[in-house]
């Protein structure tokens, strides 16, 4: 096909205008980097479902001042190598402005530098303290209470239940050591004692030797800082070893499906603790509706909040870049603005120049300068007949 000089000239003059027109239609690109497989595989798929539903909700209401949200999904496999590969793809290839939903602390720690170096916002549900201590220059927002807060509340629960000698068995993770340090501190302040910790490789098929060592210290409570697959093995071998004392573990290890896969004798009386979503929030009701369950998991609640916060930040700043979200996030998440529970509720207010303060499904969503949440609720359960039963929520 011959290109005439006139056509070429017209195209050349028109090109900048075409680009400008596209820029205003440029979608807000968000990457969902979640554990679709691996130890976190019980949560990844519902987290992705909520992320996509939150984006669809906003898009159907007209988007963010006309801009649509485009979500791209990548699987971390609950493994830092795959997480980094996924992160590279989302940041370098799909050019996202924000990455949402990294779950395992090891994965988040590996992915975080990619994000802050590319000036992409990272919204994570991981708990390890070390994450917000990284030099992230404000590019990490974390809605999960950090290890310090979690261990403080969990150990306080043990003290309230008269524990005196606590032994910890922890999977090898970035939060294993920090957890034990905080458990030791809180126990000591409460007149009890931490009698030892064993950090194990979670891929092992047997922990009999490790459990023998733990039981030899005569604890009245065992603290399993575990993931679900290793917890299943530990509970079975603990029963076989004849231990009858107390056991406590995080809620993400003692999931309903893990509990139902084990015989009731193995799980009866097991305590679990978890940060609790804000059960009264309209945002929580929205997540219940998206997942079709009365009890959505805390991570799906958090990523719903991530998406709404991103949309509000973009609406406030008028730009879709990671830098824009970074600069505007705390202006919409906390402060003296009007309380809102969704981006759809808040965007019209922002458009008229008013300030908003988002509170979401996971809690008030107010962040420290390092990116941690200031506070949230916790729930404590005990397993009865293979199902968790709520003991207290505060």
């Amino acid at each position: 096909m011959l290109i005439t000089r006139r056509a070429a000239l017209a195209a050349g003059l028109g090109a900048p205008f075409i680009r400008l027109a596209r820029a205003a239609d440029e979608p807000l690109r968000v990457g969902a980097l979640c554990p679709l497989t691996g130890a976190g595989g019980q949560y990844g798929p519902s987290m992705v479902k909520v992320i996509q539903a939150a984006a669809d909700e906003i898009n159907q209401a007209g988007g963010i001042a006309g801009r649509q949200i485009a979500v791209t999904v990548a699987d971390t496999q609950t493994n830092p190598d795959a997480g980094v590969a996924g992160g590279h793809k989302l940041i370098d290839l799909d050019r996202v402005s924000a990455v949402v939903g990294t779950w395992a602390s090891a994965v988040t720690t590996a992915v975080a530098p990619l994000c802050w170096e590319a000036k992409v916002m990272l919204f994570t549900v991981s708990g390890a303290d070390s994450i917000t201590k990284l030099p992230h220059q404000g590019y990490i927002i974390r809605t999960q209470p950090n290890t310090y807060l979690q261990m403080t509340r969990a150990t306080q629960f043990l003290l309230d239940n008269k524990a005196k000698r606590v032994f910890a068995l922890a999977a090898q993770t970035p939060f294993a050591v920090d957890s034990y340090n905080r458990i030791t501190e809180v126990l000591k302040a409460g007149g009890a004692e931490a009698v030892g910790q064993i950090v194990y490789d979670s891929k092992q098929t047997s922990f009999r030797s490790e459990l023998d060592r733990a039981i030899a210290e005569k604890p009245d409570t065992l603290f399993f800082n575990s993931y679900a697959p290793d917890l299943a093995v530990l509970l079975r071998e603990l029963y076989q070893a004849g231990y009858d004392g107390h056991r406590i573990t995080p809620g993400y290890a003692a999931t309903p499906t893990t509990l139902s896969s084990l015989q009731p004798e193995l799980t009866n009386g097991l305590w679990s603790f978890a940060p609790s979503p804000d059960l009264d929030s309209p945002a929580y009701a929205a997540v219940q509706k998206i997942l079709g369950t009365q009890t959505p998991d805390p991570y799906s609640c958090q990523v719903y909040d991530h998406m709404n916060l991103i949309a509000l930040a973009v609406a406030k700043s008028g730009q879709t870049t990671g830098v824009a979200i970074h600069d505007a996030i705390r202006a919409v998440s906390q402060g003296d603005g009007q309380a809102v529970h969704s981006a759809i509720e808040g965007m019209p207010l922002l458009a008229t120049g008013k300030a908003v303060n988002y509170s979401g499904a996971s809690g008030p969503c107010d962040f420290t300068p390092e990116g941690d949440i200031i506070t949230c609720k916790f729930r404590f359960d005990m397993v009865e007949d293979g199902k968790p039963k709520l003991l207290s929520l505060s």
């Binding site: 497989t37 691996g38 595989g41 019980q42 798929p45 090898q172 064993i198 950090v199 194990y200 490789d201 891929k203 092992q204 098929t205 047997s206 009999r208 030797s209 490790e210 060592r213 679900a228 697959p229 299943a232 093995v233 079975r236 071998e237 029963y239 076989q240 070893a241 004849g242 499906t257 893990t258 896969s261 084990l262 015989q263 004798e265 193995l266």
Partner: protein
């Protein structure tokens, strides 16, 4: 006890290597296939452990042969390395097929749990004894097959000297299928034994892949008795290492073993010298 359970998939891995001369990393997912098959027999049909183990063996063997025919046999003329790489891809495909069918949720067997037997300052689990017993029965059955049946003897002939065997008129393809069926069936049997102690999920076999490979390498690739020795050595070595190292580093024992073995005796304990 753990050595005995790992020995079975390690034997399967080495049996395939002995006859087909390539490292079949799909054992990771074949073990998981066996675990799911046994689990279905136990929970959906209500069968006890022994028949469920048989189902695990049969289903894993059949799936293994079919997968081999579809994905690996066409690549064997291109060399052992290519086939080994393809077997990694096959493992991922099978794992995700299982994930698609069953989801990520962990599953447990419908079996009672027992407390350990105690005596003389030791404690032993009835479950562990049962699993070790099953492993021994499987090994004995394999020994009987290889020593006394025509197909078994033919397999050993092909493993020993493929050229001579083909001159004698032995059909290499048929023997290859028998080797895959037997070896991968044993891997599935071992997969169910592992799942009995842990849980059934798409990663059941993958978690032990490197331990199986370590046992096979230490014992000597291609050697069936070597696989047994390797598995026991690694199992015992890991326990003994707890006296010296903290439990966190237990997983490294298998890899230290591979490193030492490949540095000083690359053929493994009982493997043939590579000329």
């Amino acid at each position: 006890m753990e050595g005995a359970v790992l020995a079975v998939p390690a034997i399967g891995f080495n049996a395939v290597y002995a006859v087909l001369r390539f490292a079949n990393f799909a054992v990771a997912s074949i073990a998981t296939v066996g675990a799911y098959a046994g689990w279905m027999a136990n929970t959906a049909l209500g069968w006890p452990v022994a028949p469920s183990l048989l189902v695990a063996f049969l289903v894993a063997g059949v799936v293994g042969v079919l997968a081999d025919e579809a994905a690996l046999r066409p690549l064997r003329p291109s060399g052992a390395l290519t086939t080994a790489i393809a077997s990694v891809a096959l493992a991922i495909v099978l794992e995700n097929a299982l994930r698609f069918l069953f989801g990520n949720d962990p599953r447990g067997f419908d079996l009672p749990v027992y407390r350990d037997w105690r005596g003389f300052g030791l404690h032993v689990g009835p479950q562990q004894v049962r699993d070790a017993g099953a492993a021994v029965v499987a090994m004995a059955a394999l020994f009987g097959f290889l020593a006394f049946t025509r197909a078994g003897k033919t397999m050993r002939a092909v493993a020993d000297n493929p050229m001579l065997a083909s001159l004698k008129g032995i059909d290499a393809v048929r023997i290859g299928r028998i080797a895959s069926f037997t070896g991968l069936g044993l891997v599935g049997f071992g997969g169910m034994l592992i799942a009995l102690d842990t849980q059934v999920d798409p990663l059941t076999g993958f978690r032990v892949l490197l331990s199986i490979f370590a046992a096979a390498v230490v014992g000597g690739l291609g050697s069936i008795p070597g696989a047994v020795m390797g598995a026991f050595l690694i199992g015992i070595g890991e326990e003994v290492s707890l006296l010296v190292f903290p439990a966190t580093y237990r997983g490294a024992v298998g890899f230290l073993a591979i490193l030492l073995m490949l540095s000083f005796r690359p053929a493994g304990l009982l493997g043939q010298r590579v000329s």
